[in-house]
């Protein structure tokens, strides 16, 4: 029989306690920080909320001179640029991830993987500069005139490509965001696809499934939770991205149906105007914008969680 040293056992117990307490403390700290952020945002935003009420989120006018502030334009800009970004980055990122894990010749796997990771490491200011000096002129000269000419006059959808080609604007911001979130989505999805057990894929092949069928019926269902996670990670970044967007969106507090028109987002409004915000109401309105972003992000995460739960239930029932 093993002889147990009681002192050793006692130290073990102490370590165990210390470890437990430390991890619990860390977990509580996260809650405290989150709560603290929420409380200070609400307090800072309170004057504006009290003054404008619900109208704050439905009014478009943003006029520091007359002290009139409405958040509709930044909310609209934030949502639309993020939607554009996700509409492009999700399918492309999905494709990159699938290519890297399932189809890529081994020789290319590393170079492409590294390139994706490097893209994620480029500071956002670089994307901003690139968007302003390289992408925007190209769009202005070549892409936007074509869109205006060929789609702009179609009734219904034509409205989204209307007006003069500024180069900068909502569309450009959406494109820059797409490029920025792409590596995150691609890298997360690739990592998830990589976790699919090889034997599971082989079972698919073993039943006579083609590569495509194995991807759709084995790899994707097995990774759906991770796929949604990757999308949400990208969306979170797109919603909050500030610097690059500020460079290329035009910073106009305006809601315009045309994607070619300049606009603004919540985070770029705050970044642009915080230093020059004079007057309590102005500052408070900017903080209220921050609170809104906080809520939007929060909602996105909540929806994501709900989706994940539904996916899991579906997985059980298919």
């Amino acid at each position: 029989m093993a002889i147990i040293d009681p002192r050793h056992a006692a130290t073990q117990l102490i370590y165990e306690r210390v470890f437990r307490t430390a991890t619990l403390g860390a977990a509580i700290l996260v809650l405290l920080i989150l709560g603290g952020v929420a409380i200070s945002l609400v307090r800072g935003a309170w004057p504006a909320m009290a003054h404008f009420g619900f109208g704050f989120v439905t009014h478009e006018v943003w006029n520091p001179v007359t002290d009139e502030f409405g958040a509709l334009a930044p909310i609209y800009g934030t949502v639309v640029t993020s939607v554009i970004a996700m509409a492009i980055a999700v399918p492309v990122g999905f494709g990159i991830a699938l290519f890297l894990t399932e189809l890529c010749p081994p020789l290319l796997k590393r170079p492409i993987g590294v390139a994706v990771e490097l893209l994620a490491a480029v500071p956002s200011i670089i994307f901003g500069i690139w968007g302003l000096f390289v992408l925007a002129p190209i769009l202005q000269k070549h892409v936007q005139p074509w869109l205006i000419k060929h789609i702009g006059h179609i009734p219904g959808i034509g409205g989204i490509f209307h007006g003069p080609p500024f180069g900068i604007g909502i569309l450009t911001a959406g494109l820059v965001l797409a490029i920025m979130v792409l590596p995150f989505i691609a890298a997360t999805m690739r990592d998830v696809f990589d976790t699919v057990p090889p034997m599971l894929k082989e079972s698919g092949y073993g039943l006579g499934a083609t590569t495509w069928e194995v991807i759709w019926n084995v790899v994707v269902p097995h990774s759906r939770v991770g796929i949604v996670g990757g999308i949400m990670l990208g969306l979170g970044r797109a919603l909050g991205e500030t610097m690059a967007v500020t460079f290329v969106i035009g910073n106009a507090h305006r809601v315009s149906a045309s994607l070619l028109a300049p606009g603004t987002t919540i985070s770029s409004s705050i970044a642009n105007e915080f230093t020059e915000a004079v007057g309590d109401l102005y500052t408070s309105s900017l903080i209220a914008l921050g609170l809104l972003l906080f809520l939007i992000t929060f909602t996105v995460i909540a929806i994501a969680q709900a989706m994940l739960r539904r996916l899991e239930r579906q997985a059980a029932n298919t």
Binding site: L200, E202, G204, G206, A209, P221, H222, A316
Partner: protein, 268 residues
């Protein structure tokens, strides 16, 4: 049957009358590793062929040649001739998906898809378009599960995930999934090595029943299992096929010293 032998000798007992599949001078390489060396071996109809031998001797490598699973491994190369009903399965116009529908495989660990029990079984028939409507699919799923001896245990929970079953049930689910596409040959790579004795015994009984409809090739490390379930046994050693014959003969009167040593547990 031996007329198209490309090269090398064929061991006594390696060929059979009216073989369903036959391998001639098959070599498998992984990059530079020569894993299977010049193996010629037939697979008979309605019979279980056991592949035995020490770890790393090339049993799985050979098995996986038979439905071209090695195609999915980077750097794997297969040489030689393998036929199914006289057709070269490695020729360019062979549809690999079709081949694998005819030569199914069951792996060492149960690998149910992350879907319902029903969907797991229905998967193969679905991709190969084997069931015309919901009704015939239901029927196909039921008969497959029945043949795999799992129906009674799961008939009330077909919509639960396959992973919610026990290990032995999962493995029978995987067998049902393979049966559902109505293959001619079933390859099994150590199908019971992750299971307890009772679950293993069920699978063994099942194999014996399945033999009436399918040709079965099973890799196993368990000598008793090989003796119980197979009619023919082939002994591999370091990539070579050393000896092959009726299971009875192999276990009572092996001709090769290596075989005898392995079977009597002197190494391996």
């Amino acid at each position: 049957m031996d007329t198209f032998t490309p090269a090398g000798t064929i061991l006594n007992g390696a060929s059979v009358q009216d073989a369903l599949m036959s391998a001639r001078a098959v070599n498998v390489f992984y990059a530079t590793k020569h894993a299977v060396k010049n193996v010629s071996l037939d697979i008979a109809r309605h019979q279980v062929l056991a592949l035995i031998g020490p770890s790393g001797c090339g049993k799985s490598s050979f098995l996986r040649c038979l439905n071209r699973m090695n195609d999915t491994i980077q750097g794997a190369r297969v040489e030689g001739l393998i036929t199914l009903d006289g057709q070269d399965i490695y020729e360019a116009r062979q549809d690999v998906a079709q081949l694998r529908a005819r030569v199914g495989i069951v792996f060492q660990k149960p690998t149910p898809f992350p879907q319902s029990i029903y969907a797991n079984v229905a998967y193969g028939p679905r991709i190969h378009g084997l069931a015309k409507d919901r009704g015939s699919m239901d029927e196909l799923v039921q008969t497959s599960l029945e043949r795999a001896g799992l129906w009674e245990e799961v008939k009330d929970r077909l919509s639960q995930t396959g992973t919610s079953l026990s290990g032995g049930q999962q493995q029978r689910l995987c067998i049902a999934r393979t049966i559902a596409v109505n293959p001619e040959v079933i390859l099994m790579d150590e199908p019971t090595s992750a299971l307890d004795p009772i679950a293993s015994a069920k699978i063994e009984d099942l194999i014996d029943v399945l033999r009436t409809n399918y040709a079965i090739v099973i890799v196993t490390h368990n000598m008793q299992q090989a003796a119980r379930v197979s009619q023919r046994t082939a002994y591999f050693h370091m990539g070579d096929l050393v000896e092959v014959g009726t299971t009875n003969m192999m276990f009572t009167n092996p001709q090769q010293k290596l075989t005898e040593d392995y079977i009597s547990g002197r190494f391996g």
